[in-house]
């Protein structure tokens, strides 16, 4: 998987209430959720984000609730992937189950500036910062997660691998 995009920077502990505030949870329509994506962290984000952009954040991204509305909102806003120092565990699960690419990278956050262009090569586990040509490594995707991605998400995986009684 190869992605190139413009960077938006967020800090540590961006929780799901900031990604998609609970007041919007009366729907799970992706386009409506996208209109409020990251609103409580940066109120102007839904207006300025463009398809293919990349979110770079600090540690514990996506902490808090189990709401899948969070990765849905990010994906529907057009964000190509999220790169963080670490991810909260339910967000991590949800992102793979739904097919939003996420990468763990310790050192990128300090090197990158808002608006920078980065190139992400998911298969080789590397990120190139265009402005400085610096190279960063990402943690490899665990094999089971890769299976989920290849299957096209958890539900397709279940369909393929489990004998279900209709």
């Amino acid at each position: 998987m190869k992605l190139t995009g413009r960077v938006w920077i967020f800090g540590d502990d961006v929780d799901t209430d900031q990604i998609i505030p609970a007041r919007y949870l009366t729907t799970f329509d992706a386009a409506s959720l996208a209109r409020h994506c990251m609103e409580d962290a940066d109120p102007t984000f839904p207006q300025k984000v463009k398809p293919g952009d990349i979110i770079v954040a600090g540690k514990n991204f996506g902490s808090g609730s189990s709401r899948e509305h969070a990765p849905i909102a990010i994906k529907a806003a057009g964000v190509a992937c999220v790169i963080a120092r670490s991810f909260a565990r339910i967000f991590f699960r949800n992102a793979f189950n739904m097919g939003l690419p996420i990468f763990i990278c310790e050192s990128l956050k300090d090197a990158v500036r808002e608006g920078d262009i980065i190139h992400v090569d998911g298969d080789r586990g590397e990120i190139i910062l265009e402005r400085t040509s610096e190279r960063f490594e990402t943690a490899p995707i665990p094999p089971f997660m890769q299976t989920l991605i290849d299957a096209g998400g958890l539900m397709s995986h279940v369909k393929k691998t489990t004998s279900l009684q209709a």
Partner: protein, 425 residues
């Protein structure tokens, strides 16, 4: 051998894989839970599989609690989606408004979860049931859909961190204060991906309600689950209540832990988490005199009967400060009824509190007590993220019911002993 409590339970539910920390395994699930926010998404994903039945209609629990009684038309539509699904697929444990409660208070109360279970819930505070000696963890809606279809779920086997509490807590120091202190100590990602195993002589004296409060907040340290070893309190709580036989597990004496944290609780004050992280914890003395606009007592963290008793003890014969709105939410209908019988509701109303039917309501900024810009609340809930209870520029502090009740009277954050003396109930 050399296994922790969490690893033992997972092993007995194993379908595929190896129960070694870091490995991904496939497990049997005893109970799967959804609510009015997360179930509709799961139902949509489930329906795309085209199945005519769920894996077991008695092992799925659906509870409308977040935006009910229906807050608006959109919320009503979500609640209806879940209700229709429950009827169509013959889900035994669907709880309608009037019988329901906040899910994590309701499931233990109804005996739907028991010791030794593997429970997944499309709600992050599913970890609450670790108090009963179950492996219980929050997942997303798609996971719930997969479990509804197959009865199975994938997990990454966690490492276990051990938390040992010694000593006798001072008056007004409760399970809530122990867990707030712990999160303050290790941080909001201090237990990321790991299991938290709670033990020590202090916990022997802790009621099941307080244990549920502690396990409830394991997720606030990033944990996969929080779990208590079963003892007499567990056995007597589950007796005549649980619908399936409990299985009691104990960690091996030489179990391998990632690390061990020990606390002497006898020196603890009541704790307060400052905005805007549950890990931003200080002793109440450092929070005193912070003025408040609203106080919330309730939620899946602290809306149980013992919480209401403590609040009533402090509020009895006193009045809520004129600058403060005090809103009290019993967590389930049974708790509400019990509070009514004990005269607690009368105490609350006479003190000038608003008492609500069970709902998540203000805990997640849903309805029934939203904060305006610049307003400040103290709540017995579990999260104080920016905007959690309303406007992104409102503030939430977290505490025990005792601190909340005393603060509601004084109009500012207050140590309970200032209002009600040194003798806690």
């Amino acid at each position: 051998m050399r296994e922790t409590l969490t690893q033992k339970i997972l092993k007995d539910h194993l379908i595929e894989g190896e129960v070694t920390p870091g490995q991904i395994i496939q497990c049997r699930v005893d109970i799967a839970l959804g609510n009015d926010v997360t179930a509709p998404l799961a139902i949509q994903a489930f329906k795309e599989l085209g199945l005519r039945k769920v894996f077991d209609p008695e092992r799925i629990v659906l509870v409308p609690d977040h935006f009910v009684p229906n807050k608006d038309i959109a919320a009503a539509t979500q609640a209806k989606t879940m209700r229709d699904f429950a009827r169509q697929f013959g889900i035994t444990h669907y709880f309608e408004v009037g019988q329901m409660g906040i899910e994590h208070a309701l499931l233990p109360e109804k005996g739907l979860v028991t010791a030794g279970d593997v429970v997944i819930g499309a709600d992050s505070h599913t970890c609450t049931y670790g108090a009963l000696g179950a492996f219980a963890t929050g997942v997303g809606s798609t996971d719930l859909a997969a479990v509804m279809a197959t009865g199975q779920c994938w997990f990454r086997v966690p490492e276990t961190m051990r938390f040992i509490y010694h000593g006798t807590p001072q008056p007004w120091v409760t399970g809530k204060d122990l867990i707030l202190h712990t999160i303050g100590d290790i941080g909001v990602d201090g237990a990321l991906y790991h299991a938290m195993e709670f033990t020590g002589d202090t916990l022997k004296g802790l009621s099941m309600d307080e244990r549920l409060t502690m396990a409830n907040m394991a997720i606030e340290a990033g944990a996969k689950n929080g779990i208590f070893e079963s003892d007499d309190t567990t056995v007597s709580y589950l007796k005549n209540r649980t619908q399936r036989p409990p299985r009691y597990y104990h960690a091996d004496p030489d179990a391998v832990y990632l690390d061990v944290h020990e606390y002497d609780v006898s020196v603890f004050s009541p704790q307060v988490a400052f905005p805007s992280l549950p890990g931003n914890v200080h002793p109440v003395e450092e929070a005193e005199n912070i003025p408040l606009d609203q106080v919330i007592i309730g939620s899946c963290t602290n809306g149980r009967i013992t919480d209401l008793r403590v609040a009533a003890k402090i509020l009895s014969g006193r009045k809520v400060h004129s600058d403060v709105r005090l809103i009290i939410f019993p967590a389930t209908q049974a708790i509400y009824l019990q509070a009514l019988k004990e005269g607690l509701i009368e105490v609350f109303v006479e003190a000038g509190a608003a008492v609500s039917t069970p709902t998540c309501g203000p805990c997640l900024g849903g309805h029934m007590g939203i904060l305006a810009e610049g307003e400040r609340a103290l709540a017995t809930t579990n999260r104080n993220f920016p905007g959690r209870m309303g406007h992104p520029k409102s503030e939430v502090y977290l505490s025990s019911p005792a601190v909340a009740a005393a603060s509601a009277i004084m109009g500012k954050i207050t140590h309970p002993s200032r209002v009600a003396g040194k003798e806690a109930p």
